[in-house]
């Protein structure tokens, strides 16, 4: 009985749906997290009677066919790259991007990774680094006697040095764009890597030509909407239960047949 297998594909799909939703909820408070949604597609159809086939010698054409589908498959878990809300922290080195772009981070192995999480700190050499200690690109080194760190909307970092009444620019934090940011691959720790689907990184200046602007002293919250996640969760759970019901109904039908002529 096909229905058993069809319902099984449905249960597997809803299981993955719940997994994706629970990951979104788990990352509700993760800075710069972008939520995912599972997308499904129907499987191929068995055309028991093909529509448009000749039904008689007189040339009558079947107006409808008998198409029996084989269930559902997961096609992907696309990431919704919408802007998260900014929350003020007051920390000088907390940065948020409003609009397009990612911070570029230099990893210990020399490769670059990208993030929307702007929770930056200073390391023992005065470099601006992520919470894992990897430097933001281009590297900004803040002199140890500097005060009043300011980051402009364009990413210019300026500090006030002792004995000076004016601030001086010490570097520029870059912003990188991708033509298909949803094609980036998440690697955990709020980081993404470039893939063939994302396209090549395009380094630019914040607040220019389609690049988002930087906001100092703020962090971008996850773009997860709890209420919609909860309602999606309920919908997924009910869909799972309905598929389970189909399995038990199909099972009962088979049972009634096998119990025949005992």
């Amino acid at each position: 009985m096909q229905a058993l297998h069809t319902a099984a594909t449905g249960m597997a799909a809803q299981e993955l749906n719940v997994q994706v939703i629970s990951n979104n909820i788990a990352n509700l408070r993760t800075t710069g997290f972008k939520k995912q949604t599972a997308a499904f597609q129907d499987l191929i159809y068995e055309h028991v009677r093909r529509v448009g086939a000749q039904a008689s010698d007189q040339g009558t054409i079947l107006p409808v066919g008998v198409d029996v589908g084989g269930g559902v498959k997961t096609v992907g878990t696309p990431r919704s790259m919408t802007q998260g809300t900014l929350s003020q922290t007051g920390n000088d080195l907390d940065l948020a991007i409003s609009g397009e772009g990612f911070f570029k981070i230099l990893m210990p192995d020399g490769t670059y990774q990208y993030t929307r999480d702007g929770t930056f700190q200073m390391d023992n050499q005065g470099r601006v680094v992520t919470a894992q200690g990897n430097p933001v690109q281009p590297t900004i080194t803040i002199p140890n006697n500097a005060s009043g760190i300011a980051v402009s909307e364009q990413g210019q970092v300026s500090v006030t040095l002792p004995g000076s009444s004016t601030s001086s620019i010490i570097g520029q934090i870059g912003v990188t764009r991708f033509i298909n940011k949803a094609g980036l691959q998440p690697v955990g720790s709020n980081l993404f890597t470039e893939t063939p689907a994302s396209g090549a990184p395009q380094d630019g200046t914040a607040n220019s030509e389609g690049y988002g602007k930087l906001t100092q002293g703020s962090l971008e919250q996850a773009n997860v909407d709890v209420v919609s996640e909860m309602s999606d969760l309920i919908a997924a759970q009910r869909a799972y239960e309905m598929n389970a019901k189909v399995i038990s109904a199909a099972d009962q039908m088979m049972q009634s047949t096998t119990a025949l002529f005992r």
Binding site: M1, G10, F40, D67, E100
Partner: protein, 253 residues
């Protein structure tokens, strides 16, 4: 005497297939742009005695066979996603996509961009506009899709909209006649494709599956009960048969 068995069998076979159709609907209750299928049955008359030697002509035996599955092409509910590349069609039209094997149609508007900036479906098939695929430039932002399908963007520092194409909405006389190919795609076959003036594109929305879960569940119960009722009928028929043979074979003392 065997007719009841055969009629029961014909009905059970169609019920089994109907159950498969219901199962597929339920499995796709969360599939974007999915349209539910329903089964149709017809009576299939067959004379059990070919030669009309009897005085009164023999009664015909009425079997069941499934005539077809028809598609509920009704609008699915719209879910807001805030994603500028998610699109839903309000109306009867379909998105045209360039799939492997030719032009195909879909109601699943979960679109994204590929690495060259072209608008694609979740499978990477190109979404077709009235003038071919819709391609975005690396500096494009603020993508806006008008209800008529016109895609505009702000390019770089420009303050005025640039047009990137127009989503093509293909419409058919009878969308129920499109063949389902799986992967949310439909094949139009020889159907005439018309331009649709009534349908509108809603940006930032996804059309969900139009499967009515309550209806499917009650249909499932109905199918299951009919099936088991026929199994009972077959059992009784068989018992009758058995007792008849036993009675007839009973040698009187």
């Amino acid at each position: 005497m065997q007719n009841a068995l055969l009629i029961g069998l014909s009905r059970q076979m169609t019920l089994e297939r109907q159950m498969d159709v219901v199962a597929n609907n339920v499995a796709n209750a969360n599939t974007n742009g999915f349209k539910a299928d329903h089964s149709l049955f017809e009576e299939f008359l067959n004379s059990n005695a070919r030669e009309d030697n009897f005085i009164a002509s023999d009664r015909k035996v009425s079997y069941v066979q499934d005539r077809g599955t028809f598609r509920d092409v009704g609008q699915g509910p719209m879910e807001p996603t805030n994603n500028p590349l998610d699109m839903a069609i309000d109306g009867n039209a379909f998105f045209a996509v360039q799939a492997n094997g030719g032009e195909r149609y879909t109601r699943d508007g979960k679109f994204s961009l590929n690495s060259t900036g072209q608008l694609v479906t979740s499978d990477g098939n190109l979404v077709l506009g009235t003038g071919g695929p819709i391609t975005f430039q690396p500096t494009d932002h603020d993508i806006n899709v008008a209800p008529d399908g016109t895609v505009t963007v702000l390019e770089g520092t420009a303050r005025t909209d640039s047009i990137r194409g127009k989503i093509r909405m293909a419409s058919f006389d009878d969308p129920a006649k499109l063949t389902k190919l799986g992967a949310n795609l439909y094949d139009a076959g020889s159907a005439v494709i018309q331009a649709d003036a009534k349908s509108v594109v809603r940006q930032g929305y996804i059309e969900k599956s139009n499967v009515n879960s309550v209806g499917e569940m009650s249909r499932m119960v109905e199918v299951m009960r009919s099936y088991t009722a026929i199994a009972n009928l077959l059992q009784q028929q068989s018992d009758l048969h058995k007792s008849a043979i036993e009675k007839l074979a009973d040698v009187p003392a």
